[in-house]
Structure formats: C-alpha cells, structure tokens
C-alpha cells in the first residue's frame, strides 16, 4: 500500500510538473509568426518564432554553413543581423571581432527568432545549388576561346549577381578518370535566368578547358553549381572602369549588360586587351553597344598588332592604354578580370591614378 502511494504520488507530481512545463512552453515559448527581412526586402519570409535563426533559416531552405550544428563552438554560422536580434550573448563573444560586432554580425545558432528580424545573408549562401544543364550553343569566339550557352534543366532558373561565377563539372573523358570542376564566370545577364553563358579559353593540358574544347557538343548535359564569388557591382563612383584580358571578358560583359539593362546612371569604359586582332572577340558586339549607349565606351587595345590586322585602335600594353584614358580628377571604381600578371600591373597603374584599393575589384585566374 505504501509502495503504491509512493509510486502514484511521485508519478502524479511529475506529471503535474510536466504538464505545467508544457503549458508554460506553449504559453511562453510561442512567439507567433515573425518575418525575416533578408537583404533589404530581397526576400521576406514569414516563419514561426522560437527557434534559433540557424534552424529557422535551414527550415526555409537557406543553409548557413555550420560545422558544430548549433553549439556555438565552430563560429562558422555568422550572419549580419541589423534588427531584432537582441543583445550579444556571452556564447558568441569569442567568435566575433570588434569590427564584426560593430557591423552586427551574430552567430545564427545563438540568435533566437523572437520578433521580426532584418538580416543580411551573402547572396551566394542562399543561392548555391547544383544545376543540370544542357549545352544549347557553342561558339568558336577566337582560335582558343569558346563561348558556351547552357540552358538550365533542373532547377530551371538561377539567381545571381552580374560578375559571379559557377563551377562547371566535367565528365571523365580520355585519360581523365575523375570528375573535376573549374570555375567560370557567367557572361550572361542575370535577367536571362533560364540559361547561363560561359567563356572558356583553352589552356594547354587543362583538364576542364580541354574537356570543353574537345568533348562538349551541343545537346550534352553538364552539371554546374553556383553562383559563387563577390565580384559584383558596388557602384560607389560615377565612373566605372572595366579592364579585361582574354576570357576575362565574361564577368565584365555580364556587369556591363546588367548596368545597361537596368539603366543605371554610370559612365562606363571597358578596356579590352589582347595581343593581336585574332585574340579579340565580341568586338562588333561591344562597338555596337557603345554606339547605342552614350554612357558606355569601348576601348579595345592590342599590345602587338600583326601587320595584316590593319589595326587603327589603341595599341600598347593595356596598362598604358588605361593610364592614357584616365584623368586624376574623376572618381572611379574599377573592375578587373584577367591573368594575375595583368591584374597586378593594372593595380599599380590605378593606384598611381589615385584610385584606392577599396574602389578596385578583381577576379584573378
């Protein structure tokens, strides 16, 4: 009998307390629906409050990198929260620098969604996907550069910022037994979201470029993933300079077309450098573009034109050409894409012209 009393009373006390906790949980831990305003109204999600930001976002299909799974031990899940995150927690402190704290960075695994949040997530983080694509067009742009157009099969469309890149996966071919991937900038405009265009220059012995140049045929399916990269328009100056060499034209083309399409009020000058006439491509395309748009200027330059080129345009190293066209009074923002040699040489020239590092963005390959 005493045994029974013990069991019953202990069980009922535990039960009562559990019910109380559950009630409290329902009553107190229910934060209702909260809206997450991501990247300045770019995406507005309505979510159920109460869980961590990391878990909430992943439920919405936005995967913030996290190695520890939300225990505040890896410090990878940093996200910039502008509003609604509450004060910084002691658990986050070891992972955030003074600068990051000032900018509002938080560990998303520690921030609880209790109210409407305003946050910034790098575009590429919630956009990265693997895409099945089909080659719909291959253009021989120069003797060693091909332009590819890939239409997206699954998913059907891609969101990216002009200037970003994707990774292209090869199939095993010839002596290459494994699947590799290489990064290529997208040359197409973001509004052309059902397809992407890549420009691939053949590199001697290059696994992926050889694959593209030798193996790929129209109608083939290939896998790409992306978008990646932070080479995109900042737009902090009125004059934009674009400098490209070889297949570095790709992201520049995307940026320029995007600006023209959106009718943004920038003066643009595009310096496109090559050795001889046969290395230049899209010449008519950009000349046509500069005739149609008064704010866009196209300056192709050859470093050593061949006699038969009958070249009347700019000659000389691209750095010299750039130096000739810039005046020191205007404010510039520069976007560079090309070989490391070209970029480093251009950085020197631009610095000499008074353009500071924070106004120069480049993609080296």
């Amino acid at each position: 009998m005493a045994f029974l009393t013990t069991v019953i009373s202990l069980s009922s006390i535990s039960l009562l307390l559990s019910v109380l906790i559950i009630l409290a949980e329902i009553r107190l831990n229910n934060y209702g629906d909260c809206t997450l305003d991501i990247n300045d109204n770019d995406r507005v999600l309505t979510v159920k409050g109460g869980a961590s930001l990391l878990a909430t976002l992943s439920e919405q299909g936005i995967f913030i990198p996290s190695a520890c799974g939300g225990k505040a031990t890896c410090g990878l899940c940093k996200v910039r929260v502008i509003e609604g995150a509450g004060p910084l927690l002691p658990t986050e402190e070891p992972y955030l620098s003074e600068q990051e704290r000032k900018e509002g960075y938080r560990l998303s695994c520690q921030v609880k969604v209790k109210q409407n949040l305003k946050l910034f997530i790098p575009e590429d983080l919630f956009n990265i996907r693997a895409y099945q694509t089909k080659i719909t067009q291959i253009d021989q742009l120069t003797h060693d550069i091909k332009g590819l157009r890939l239409s997206l099969i699954e998913p059907e469309s891609i969101r990216f910022k002009a200037g970003q890149y994707v990774q292209l996966y090869t199939r095993p071919y010839g002596n290459v037994k494994e699947k590799v991937f290489r990064a290529y900038s997208m040359a197409s405009v973001p509004s052309d979201s059902k397809a992407i265009e890549l420009i691939v220059r053949r590199v001697p012995e290059g696994i992926c470029t050889t694959f593209v140049h030798e193996e790929l045929k129209v109608g083939d399916t290939v896998q790409v993933s992306g978008p990646f990269g932070d080479f995109y328009l900042r737009g902090n100056a009125n004059n934009l300079i674009f400098i490209a060499g070889g297949s570095g034209l790709a992201p520049i083309r995307s940026l320029i077309l995007d600006i023209i399409e959106k009718d943004l009020p920038y003066q643009m000058t595009f310096f496109f450098g090559a050795v001889t006439r046969k290395d230049l491509y899209y010449l008519d395309y950009f000349e046509d573009l500069s005739n149609k748009h008064s704010r866009f200027h196209f300056v192709p330059a050859l470093s050593s034109p061949a006699a038969e080129d009958s070249w009347s345009g700019e000659t000389g190293l691209i750095t010299d050409v750039v130096a000739r066209h810039l005046d020191t009074d205007s404010d510039y923002e520069a976007y560079l894409c090309g070989s490391p040699g070209m970029i480093n040489a251009c950085l020197n020239v631009l610095n000499a012209k008074g353009i500071t590092e924070d106004r120069i963005f480049y993609d080296k390959f």
Binding site: A2, T5, T6, S9, L10, I13, A24, E25
Partner: protein, 200 residues
Amino acid sequence: MIMDIPAISPIMIFFASILTSNMILSNFLGMCSFISVSNEYKTASGLGKAVLVVMVLTMAINFAVYHAIILPLDLVYIQYIIFIIIIAATVQILEMAMDRFLPDLYIKLGIFLPLITVNCAILGITLFMVIRNYSFLQAILFAAGSGLGWWLAINALAAIREKMARNKLPRGLAGPGIAFIITGLMALAFVGFSGMFSVQ
C-alpha cells in the same frame, strides 16, 4: 511527527540567515557556482540575484508541497526527490518566462540559470525549513535572507577576485585555490557577526 514551530521572530531569521548563518560562509552550501562564477563582479551579481529569486520561489512551492502532500501522504522518505524535481521544474518555467519577458536578464544570466537547479543552497534551504519546522512566514524570510546572504557573499568574493586579478600568485594557488582561501577568510570575518544574534 509533530514538532513545534520554533519561537523565533521571522525578522530575526531573515537577518541571521544573511549574516550569522550565511549559506556560503557558515553552511558552505552552493559552493560550486560560488567558486566558478565569481571571476567577474557583473556575472556574479547576476547569478546572486537569480539564486535569490529561485530560493524564494522554490521555498514557497516546496513549503506548500511539503505541508499539503508530503506530510499528509507520509512521503517524507522521498521528499528529496520531490523537492528536487520541483526545483528543476520551477527553474525551467522561470527560464522560459524570463526568456520571454526579461530577455536582457535572461541573456545576462545565460547558462547560470539552469545551473541553479543543481545549486545545493537551493535544496539546502528547503531541507532546513523541514528540519527546523519553520512556519510559512519564517520559511519565506529565511529563503529571502539566505538568498541575499548568498548574493552578498558571491559579490564580495567576486569583487575581491576582480581586485586581485592582476596580482601575482604562487602557481598552485591561482584560480579556485585562492578563491577557497578568500572564502575561508571571509567566513572567519563573518564569525564576528555571531555575537549579534544566533538562531541555531
């Protein structure tokens, strides 16, 4: 087993439990968090406040449960279990309520609040209440006094530790070692209060 309620004024119990029978400095209860969370004055003070609130709250609930359930049903032999699950549940609910209504304090206390569940001083005062057969008023003032005393002690220790944070110490003494020594010295100093009044 019917005992008489001790004939001590609740006010006396209140002051005695702050000074002469301080939970830490004379009973040495709740030492784990006392030693480990006393590096910084601010957090120590936050923990002290949390202990105070939880002490009063759980004392009230445990008192009611003791007199309404444990004594009538003759469950004294499992009272420890009952008390501890009540403390755990109270802390849990309190935590949720604070998360909701006092996010600042909740964040400041951080992990200390759940840790209070296993703070011996919390269970200790309930058990003292049982042994000494306090009345409700005595029990509540005893809890409040004990909480304040605990707060006072951890504040004092944290202040001293913060003050001497940069002092050079023999290697073996740095950290908890010196904290125990300071606690001992503080306890000696508190003995001085015993002339004022004594309740046990």
